[in-house]
């Protein structure tokens, strides 16, 4: 059953520079449902990354509200927003953003350190399970420098799933990958959405259209629906 996991209402984000005022996101409203794979597409500078930052509580909108799990998070403190991010949202970045000094399973454990619900003795086992989920059981003890781009991104996906979040946000997750690895990554993200999570992916890559349930389009800060499955 589809449940509303994330809603944005009249979100606006303005950046004021010395000479100008830039409207990165212009009065955007949308409801994201669980179990769906959303693609947000658009040209560079259309506001996609800003929107995903706001969805991920990494940026505070100039105006508007954001509701996660029926809770309005618009005016929460940094500490409370951090907790929400830790428990409800998993991030995947174009450059993988793995800690080079940590092994694969240690990178996956990173979000678990500040989740009191996961006991210390359970962390490693959970990390190994997640790495198996993304087909990396043979790379548990490897450092990022010993992995290919596709493998690193899969570790990043496992890390994003560390605290069982309801929402996965991915910003150009296949931007640095070849076609074969793109498909592997999109397959995994699709699998994650089918499991009941909300997956929102910002991408230039048209291959995503094969996987997305809903395709949204950003242009000049405004959000439009291209295709709603």
């Amino acid at each position: 059953m589809e449940v509303e996991s994330l809603e944005i209402k009249n979100i606006t984000k303005k950046y004021i520079t010395k000479s100008d005022e830039v409207m990165a996101v212009d009065n955007v409203s949308y409801k994201f449902l669980s179990g769906k794979f959303y693609a947000i597409m658009g040209h560079s500078g259309s506001g996609k990354s800003t929107l995903i930052s706001i969805l991920g509580t990494l940026e505070v909108p100039t105006s508007g509200s954001c509701i996660i799990g029926k809770k309005d998070i618009s005016n929460l403190s940094d500490e409370k927003l951090s907790k929400i991010r830790n428990k409800n949202i998993g991030f995947i970045f174009q450059n993988y953003a793995l800690d080079p000094n940590l092994k694969s399973y240690e990178n996956v454990i990173l979000p678990m350190y500040i989740n009191e619900k996961i006991k210390k003795e359970d962390r490693k086992n959970k990390a190994i399970e997640l790495l198996k989920y993304v087909n990396l059981e043979a790379r548990i003890e490897h450092y990022p420098r010993e992995l290919s781009g596709g493998e690193q991104q899969r570790v990043a996906i496992a890390r994003a799933l560390a605290n069982d979040p309801d929402i996965i946000l991915a910003d150009e997750p296949t931007g640095n990958l070849d076609e074969k690895n793109e498909e592997i990554i999109f397959d995994i993200l699709k699998k994650i959405s089918i499991s009941g999570r909300t997956v929102i992916v910002v991408s230039h890559n048209n291959n995503i259209l094969k996987y997305a349930d809903v395709v949204l389009y950003m242009q000049n800060g405004k959000l439009g629906v291209k295709n709603e499955g």
């Binding site: 991030f91 953003a97 800690d99 000094n101 350190y113």
Partner: protein, 417 residues
């Protein structure tokens, strides 16, 4: 739980190749600062201790001049004066110990019992009884070596034999046959060791024994050497110089000025038995202190640059931590923990090296301080203050740099490295 987690993460980042140069340089700098602080502390401690504990620092030699014996005796009535004796007892009596092949014994007079802290046995009461230091070194200070110290407690009950100068007239020419005959016929005196005293409590040389005034009278010549003139025939004449001046002991260094003022009011000429020039000490102190401060500034600059570089190379990691739910406070704490562990590791390694050097140097090259019953101390207080300053500095710089980084857009931070 969060604190332990942060430590776990910190430890994984710590001892990497890129930190090796920083660790080496900071370790060396801190080691040098430890050494300079030890020198500074030694200078301060020596000056303070000599003035506070050495009884000569509260001793005045009052010249008789044209004053009567009664005038000199009345000095005892001045408040804080605890002893008023002939200046015969100012200098120790030196003599070789006949049972030993080398070395010497110095014997001082006990004019105020509080001057000595008896450790074992008792204070001398009878003729030819002496007390010696617990750490006894019957050698000249220029012959001092670390293994020449003897446990004085083990010598209690034994005797030393020396020659007395009681019958010698120092005013005679030392080539005079009469003088030589006197020296040959000197009486042999057997001294009995009845106790030991703590020489570190009054900073007396380790070759110094103490005896009653009667024993000193039995040992020392009544004349302390004369001065010569040439008569009209061209002959040398020595004049007797009897001991006519007085040695005054004051109860405390704090009251020395009071007694000096009183003596001045009464028209006496006097001089201090021991005077340590404060300006000279400050000059000696200034050099290691100034160099320590300069090196500390250099250390701070290096630490600041290290933290700046480290954090600016970790934008992705810092942005990631923020994205996965670490608060700004957590991230600052994480970075602070890493930086503190590295710096305290440097401080610890420095201290271990310093301690080994301290043991070797004080035992082998600074035995002269042991001869003067003075201990070169490790300046734990100054070292603690130094480390506190460093920790505070790291906290301030860490917070400032991390704060500035985390003000930036998180997505931008993650993309930066």
């Amino acid at each position: 739980m969060k604190g332990n987690s942060l430590k776990e993460i910190s430890l994984k980042h710590l001892f990497k190749k890129e930190n090796a140069l920083f660790i080496t340089i900071i370790t060396i700098l801190i080691l040098i600062i430890y050494v300079l602080l030890t020198i500074s502390n030694l200078v301060i401690d020596y000056y303070y201790s000599m003035n506070r504990y050495n009884y000569l620092a509260r001793t005045l030699i009052v010249e008789k001049g044209d004053k009567s014996e009664k005038d000199l005796d009345d000095i005892s009535n001045i408040k804080h004066v605890v002893a008023n004796v002939s200046n015969k007892y100012y200098n120790e009596f030196f003599a070789p110990i006949l049972e030993r092949d080398e070395g010497q014994l110095a014997i001082g007079a006990i004019i105020n019992k509080k001057d000595l802290k008896i450790v074992k046995g008792r204070s001398p009461e009878n003729l030819n009884e002496i007390v010696i230091p617990v750490k006894f070194c019957p050698y000249n200070e220029f012959d001092i070596e670390k293994d020449k110290f003897i446990n004085g407690n083990k010598l209690i009950g034994s005797t030393f034999t020396i020659k007395s100068d009681k019958s010698v007239n120092y005013n005679l020419d030392h080539d005079d046959p009469k003088y030589l005959e006197m020296m040959d016929k000197r009486e042999t005196v057997t001294l009995t060791i009845v106790g030991t005293y703590d020489s570190t409590a009054n900073l007396v040389e380790a070759d110094t024994a103490f005896a009653t005034i009667k024993t000193i009278d039995n040992l020392k010549s009544p004349y302390h050497g004369g001065h010569g003139v040439i008569d009209s025939d061209g002959n040398s004449i020595f004049y007797n110089d009897e001991y006519v001046d007085r040695m005054i002991r004051v109860d405390s260094y704090k009251n020395l000025d009071y007694v000096k003022n009183e003596l001045t009011k009464q028209g006496f000429d006097f001089w201090e038995a021991m005077s340590i020039d404060l300006m000279e000490f400050l000059t000696i102190l200034l050099v290691p202190l100034v160099v320590s401060i300069i090196l500390l500034i250099v250390t701070f600059v290096l630490i600041k640059n290290f933290i700046n570089k480290k954090l600016n190379n970790r934008h992705t990691t810092l942005g990631l931590l923020k994205a996965i739910g670490y608060t700004n406070k957590d991230i600052k704490k994480l970075e602070f923990t890493e930086n503190i562990i590295i710096t305290l590791f440097c401080a610890l390694v420095s201290f271990i090296i310093y301690f080994i050097v301290y043991l070797v140097v004080t035992k082998n090259f600074l035995a002269i301080f042991n001869y003067y019953s003075f201990t070169v101390k490790i300046p734990l207080f100054l070292i603690t203050v130094l480390l506190i300053f460093i920790i505070i500095f790291i906290k301030v710089i860490n917070n400032r740099v991390t704060h500035n980084i985390l003000k930036q857009n998180v997505m931008q931070l993650i993309k930066e490295d």
